[in-house]
């Protein structure tokens, strides 16, 4: 164990640099936490808490959100963290087409958040139902239940894309 700790202190760091993330997501406008989203910093003081709510997704979108916390992407470097309680959240990140069974829970989570609150719909099916559009058990997207501020396209969007879109959406919401 001790050996591991020392290795980790002095060894090679696996985390991707900003450039690598930019390359993976195409074009990252404005570096997260750097000069770009200055207004964002003014509002959120470089600390953004996200409550993720799965409203009937296939679960791939959540795995990509989970990956944001791994040592490769490590979003907490940029002041972004996922939180358990909606009371601590600035942002609600919705995945899934909103199954009928989750509509009530999604609404409750949204209502439990303090103002200002921002809603981001992550993935194609949170946008308009995606592949599930028209199924009897879904509401064809998050907007049926909560006011959506921005969308992250993809099925699923990869972690770098999620990160880039979150920054962009937050920035325009902070304007």
């Amino acid at each position: 164990m001790l050996k591991q700790i020392i290795l980790n202190l002095f060894g090679k760091k696996p985390a991707l640099g900003r450039d690598a993330i930019r390359a993976m997501s195409g074009d990252v406008a404005g570096e997260p936490g750097a000069s770009g989203p200055a207004r964002l910093d003014a509002v959120f003081k470089r600390s953004i808490r996200i409550r993720q709510v799965d409203a009937g997704s296939c679960n791939a979108c959540e795995w990509e959100c989970t990956a944001l916390g791994n040592p490769i992407y490590d979003v907490s470097r940029f002041g972004i963290d996922f939180t358990a309680s909606p009371r601590h959240a600035d942002v609600i990140l919705v995945t899934g087409p909103v199954s009928l069974g989750m509509a009530g829970a999604l609404k409750k989570t949204y209502l439990a958040m303090p103002e200002p609150k921002i809603v981001i719909a992550c993935g194609d099916c949170a946008k308009d139902g995606g592949v599930y559009r028209g199924a009897y058990g879904v509401l064809d997207g998050a907007a049926a239940v909560v006011p959506v501020d921005g969308y992250i396209p993809g099925c699923p969007p990869n972690p770098a894309e999620i990160m880039k879109c979150i920054m962009d959406i937050l920035e325009s919401a902070a304007k």
């Binding site: 997704s57 490769i72 069974g101 599930y132 009897y136």
Partner: protein
């Protein structure tokens, strides 16, 4: 005209329960479902798919039921593994298993009105109209009575970034006496959606039944459609599918072993597992264009030849193999982690067998059942490998089964790459025979995946039955957690790693 290894056995409603009980003694119950076939012959039908232990054959017991007499004697008292299947048929078709010990609905929550969504004459609009969000949910949880018993309700929205479901624990102090899970919050109506899509367009839906099992689901689905249409895909397409299924198993198993560390609060172990998983996901993306291996399966074969990138596969997997070896050594040396795993979340062989466990969960409880061996398909018939079993049925065993299976996947991939595979990547889809039906199956990372499809009179889908591994294994978590402490629940749950979406459909 059925695929060779499928044998249909027609029974009367009176004989059905007894026969099922008889079969269940030497056969695995693979899946059980109903279909509304009134447009073909005026009847509803119930099917129970058994496969004899050690033989590549499916004995499919079936009975027909008239619309005005949709009741039969429940088989659950005799074949406990049927318990959820029968509740599902009751919800979705209104077929009544008389004498079923659990009268509660399963798939449909209280917001749904009196509709049977999978009946063919019930439209999506009918179902939507029946929905009333303010309707009282009459669901009741099983109660444990006695001094000091209290209940802990959890969910549907959980603390972490995971899928939704509700768990009701009855505990005394820290000890769990009973766990009553209530799932199906993510029920979307996927099976009905398949019916409106046409067989060829069903692939993208099958890929999205359950995120990290995308490829096993699409493979089983394509296989069902291909078998129904009498198509034999080329050895090359089969080899591609086999390799990609093993890649899916690898990233799941290694990721799951890492995730179990999150269950014990072992952050370093979790981080190491996540790094290994990430390099496999990146490989997936380079090979198939999708981190979740989507868009490669099509009816009739595959869209890409992953063997073109064999060098990348070999060099990436070499690195992961070494990393995984060190990772396992590191975990097994971490006493504080391993001690939490040993003896935790015990699932006895007897219960696993009776309740129809599948996948690593079954093999960790001593049941040597693996669809790749039991029903050789794709390239598996020509590969030599074992079904890895452990006897104890605890979290540790479930981890070790995954470890051995991951190592086995490395060598399966190696031997696939050594060989040459001939043939077209993709053959044109044949015609779908009116009234035709077939099973498709594979062994996914969580266990067996089954599809059963049937075409209507015009060759469009009449029924697409999806049976994910998670549907079988969810009820087992309650048994495994019994007598454990509340803080061990996340760990035990992670050791099964079940899909909500794949179960709720």
């Amino acid at each position: 005209m059925h695929p060779e290894n499928e044998k249909y056995i027609e029974l009367s409603a009176a004989d059905f329960p007894r026969k099922c009980a008889e079969y269940s003694r030497r056969h695995f119950l693979r899946t059980m479902f109903a279909a509304d076939e009134r447009e073909l012959d005026g009847y509803f039908r119930v099917y129970a798919v058994f496969s004899p232990m050690g033989e590549d054959r499916f004995d499919i017991l079936t009975m027909k039921l008239r619309e005005d007499a949709l009741a039969y004697g429940s088989i659950t008292p005799l074949v406990p593994a049927a318990h959820w299947y029968e509740r599902e048929m009751r919800d979705m078709f209104g077929i009544i298993p008389e004498g079923h010990p659990d009268p509660r609905p399963l798939c449909l929550h209280g917001i749904y009105g009196d509709v049977y969504p999978l009946r063919r004459d019930v439209t999506t609009d009918d179902i939507k109209k029946s929905v009333d969000f303010s309707r009282e949910d009459g669901y009741f949880f099983m109660r444990v009575k006695g001094e000091g018993v209290y209940e802990i309700p959890v969910g549907p929205v959980h603390a972490g970034i995971i899928e939704p479901g509700h768990f009701r624990f009855s505990a005394v102090g820290e000890t769990i006496y009973h766990l009553d899970p209530r799932l199906f919050f993510t029920h979307k109506g996927t099976e009905k959606l398949f019916e409106s899509r046409g067989f060829e367009n069903g692939v993208e839906l099958a890929e999205r039944i359950s995120g990290v099992s995308s490829f096993s689901h699409s493979s089983a689905y394509c296989m069902a459609v291909e078998r129904m249409a009498g198509m034999d895909i080329s050895p090359r397409a089969k080899a591609v599918r086999t390799l990609v299924i093993e890649l899916e198993r690898l990233y799941n198993h290694i990721g799951d072993i890492g995730n179990m560390c999150a269950g014990t609060g072992f952050a370093l172990g979790y981080a190491k597992g996540a790094i290994l998983k990430e390099s496999l996901m990146a490989l997936n993306a380079r090979l198939t264009g999708s981190r979740y291996l989507r868009g490669i399966n099509v009816i009739g074969g595959v869209t890409r030849d992953v063997f073109d990138a064999a060098d990348d596969v070999i060099s990436t997997l070499d690195g992961v193999k070494t990393g995984f070896k060190h990772f396992m050594e590191f975990l097994l040396d971490s006493i504080s982690h391993i001690e939490r795993l040993e003896g935790t979340g015990l699932l006895s062989r007897e219960i696993a067998l009776k309740m129809g466990a599948t996948g690593p969960a079954a093999r960790a409880s001593g049941i040597s059942d693996d669809i790749r061996r039991a029903h050789p398909h794709l390239s598996y018939g020509s590969l030599i490998f074992e079904a890895h079993t452990y006897q104890k049925g605890d979290v540790y065993s479930r981890m070790m089964v995954r470890r051995e299976e991951a190592e086995c996947s490395f060598s399966i991939i190696d031997s696939l790459i050594e060989r040459r595979h001939e043939g077209e990547l993709r053959m044109p889809a044949g015609k779908f025979p009116a009234g035709g039906s077939a099973l498709g199956y594979t062994e996914g990372p969580r266990g067996s995946v089954f599809y059963w499809i049937k075409a209507s009179g015009d060759g469009s889908p009449l029924r697409v039955k999806v049976r994910s591994a998670s549907f079988c294994n969810w009820p087992l978590v309650s048994y495994a957690i019994h007598g454990n402490i509340v803080p061990d629940f996340p760990l035990v749950n992670k050791s099964f790693n079940l899909s909500y979406s794949g179960c709720d459909l």
